[in-house]
């Protein structure tokens, strides 16, 4: 009948919560803060004498590599130090300053903020179903003339739209503040990455765009996971807790199971899609971008099937 009204109802509910405005404002403030801080503390000496700085860094790296080899640290520790060392050498030779900040470089540096956004998205997705069960409002909603799957789908769409909205806000804010403080332009600025011991020169803007796309896919999978947990548990705090635990403990778990042959078929090693962007350094071996995308598609479908099947059948006693 009026399916879109269901979605707009959910959207209105999301935006009627105070926390939603915090979720929107906080990333903007952090980005603004970092931009100002970076500008104020920028060491102009280092910027002009960057060659000297990088040479010193490499001396330090050399001793660290030697130490890592002596201590029998995991192999990837020494490997990543070596990559960094070689990148520096390449930078010196080709005169590519790592200290040159442009708006696109700023966007690349701010990429880790997306995990904060991931956290906010988890809170919203975990609460959107479980919260209504906990408060009992779900029964007022389910007695309307809509099949249950439509009501659940409207909630899923609203959550995805909210995730997309947060992500657009973050991208826009980083670009805007980066441009204001470090100047517009910089689309042609190169950066270095190492794959299989070889050094590549790439455009930062390419990296940023690819990174944004991949991150949004990660977001979507996170939403599906949290949404499933939200449907399986009646309490929103339990749902939020479980989803956060799975997402963050999942990454730690990857290190423990990385040597197992089945590790690449589990969810979490595949959740970090940006690992394919540079470094070429993967904790779990034998995976590629298309492999991970395939695995994520399978997991997402599984989560959604469970979510919708459970929701459709459940007796509501709230």
């Amino acid at each position: 009948m009026k399916f879109l009204s269901l979605v707009s109802n959910e959207w209105i509910k999301i935006f009627s919560r105070t926390r939603t405005w915090v979720f929107i404002a906080l990333p903007i403030l952090i980005v603004l803060g970092v931009a100002i801080y970076g500008k104020v503390t920028a060491d102009e000496d280092v910027k002009s004498n960057w060659k000297q700085e990088v040479t010193e860094q490499n001396k330090e790296l050399k001793s660290q590599i030697a130490e890592a080899k002596k201590d029998n640290s995991p192999k990837f520790v020494a490997e990543s130090l070596e990559n960094e060392y070689r990148q520096n050498q390449y930078a010196l030779k080709n005169e590519i300053s790592p200290y040159e900040t442009t708006s696109w470089k700023f966007m690349k540096d701010m990429a880790p903020i997306s995990s904060l956004l991931g956290l906010f998205v988890i809170v919203v997705a975990s609460d959107i179903v479980a919260g209504e069960f906990a408060k009992g409002t779900i029964k007022m909603l389910l007695i309307r003339p809509y099949s249950r799957w439509k009501i659940l789908l409207s909630k899923l769409i609203a959550t995805l739209a909210f995730a997309f909205f947060l992500w657009v806000i973050l991208v826009a804010a980083t670009w805007l503040f980066g441009s204001i403080f470090y100047g517009f332009g910089g689309m042609d600025q190169p950066y270095l990455s190492v794959t299989d011991g070889k050094i590549h020169e790439k455009l930062i803007s390419e990296y940023v765009l690819a990174n944004m796309g991949l991150e949004f896919i990660e977001f979507a999978v996170t939403v599906f996971l949290a949404f499933m947990v939200s449907t399986l548990f009646y309490s929103s705090s339990v749902a939020i807790g479980i989803s956060l635990f799975l997402t963050f403990a999942g990454n730690a778990l990857v290190l423990f199971i990385s040597s197992k042959s089945w590790a690449k078929y589990t969810l979490f090693p595949n959740m970090d899609l940006t690992q394919y962007l540079d470094e070429g350094l993967q904790v779990v071996k034998g995976m590629s971008l298309s492999f991970s995308l395939g695995m994520l598609a399978i997991y997402s479908a599984l989560f959604l099937i469970i979510t919708f099947a459970v929701f459709q059948k459940r007796d509501v006693k709230a």
Binding site: M1, K135, M140
Partner: protein, 316 residues
């Protein structure tokens, strides 16, 4: 042609933990009727209501709303229902008006004018733009009634609607219900409070252990035939009881305190009994005609703990 009832339950059964919480329940609700579901807590009233509005699945039987099977025509059937299931939990971070907007948006044919109309009906004009978290229980209940009425349902379902209402609120609710019923809306109300049911319903179904014990017209309850006569007497109650038993052996006589209670009689009989008591030397201080309340009859019915067949269907 068969008449289509607003609501019809046929052998509706719900199993929970291997037990029939609702057991082959059948009844129908006519157009413009206020129908009560009466039973102690845990009798299956709320479960029945939740099955009607689709919150709980059925294990057997059929539910028809204006002839539409809710399992085959779920959305069409639900369009005709307005309901409050237990406490009406609203979004307390939204205002009353925004809560109503939530439902108005997704129901057919609800205009802003209609919202204002309903708000006026439940007398929430003063508070409608305040957040629901500031509302009293009675105000929430009234907002609940408002959301149930928004789309002019032909079947209104109210589960324990008087919870948290003050006497004035209860009185108002009964008045809305009667007005709606007169306009053709059928109403199903559940309660475990008998006095309330007596005041608001046309017919009452008594449910225990998920089974229908009986359905009664409420007006029957107040019939003369259900009345009892109380004689207030000083001294010698056992002898007086014997005297009455001789006079009317077919009637049950009870002693309660200083009262002698006998089942309803004609005015002539009452005069005769009085005369006999006085002639036998008893002092009669008072004679009272008391109607049997629904409560007493309810206790009679459920207290026996028997099945449907064991309960006498008096007054029909």
């Amino acid at each position: 042609m068969e008449t289509v009832h607003t609501l019809e339950l046929r052998n509706v059964t719900k199993k929970m933990k291997g037990k029939n919480v609702v057991d082959h329940l059948s009844f129908e609700v006519r157009k413009g009727e206020i129908f009560g579901l009466l039973g102690p807590n845990g009798a299956g009233k709320t479960t029945t209501i939740r099955m009607i509005v689709g919150l709980i699945s059925m294990n057997g039987g059929e539910i028809l709303v204006n002839g539409l099977d809710i399992r085959k025509n779920y959305e069409k059937a639900m369009e005709q229902i307005g309901a409050i299931v237990e406490n009406p939990q609203m979004y307390d971070y939204l205002t009353g008006y925004k809560n109503l907007m939530q439902y108005a948006r997704i129901m057919p044919g609800v205009t802003r004018k209609r919202i204002d109309e309903v708000v006026k009906l439940v007398e929430l004009e003063q508070a409608i733009h305040k957040k629901v978290k500031t509302y009293s229980l009675g105000m929430r209940q009234r907002l609940g009634v408002a959301q149930a009425l928004l789309h002019r349902p032909s079947l209104l379902i109210l589960d324990e609607p008087t919870n948290g209402l003050d006497p004035q609120g209860m009185h108002d609710l009964r008045n809305y219900m009667r007005t709606l019923a007169d306009q053709g809306t059928s109403i199903v109300v559940s309660s475990h409070i008998l006095a309330e049911m007596e005041l608001m319903c046309d017919r009452v179904a008594v449910i225990q252990h998920g089974k229908l014990i009986r359905i009664d017209n409420v007006t029957n309850v107040t019939d003369q035939a259900q009345a009892r006569v109380h004689f207030l007497i000083e001294g010698g109650l056992p002898e007086a009881k014997l005297l009455l038993s001789e006079y009317a052996p077919e009637k049950a006589v009870e002693v309660s305190g200083k009262e002698l209670i006998i089942e309803a009689s004609t005015s002539q009989e009452i005069a005769d009994i009085n005369k006999r008591l006085i002639e036998a030397g008893f002092l009669v201080y008072g004679i009272q005609l008391k109607k049997k309340t629904l409560e007493e009859r309810f206790l009679e019915m459920t207290g026996k703990g028997g099945g449907v067949n064991e309960v006498s269907i008096a007054g029909q």
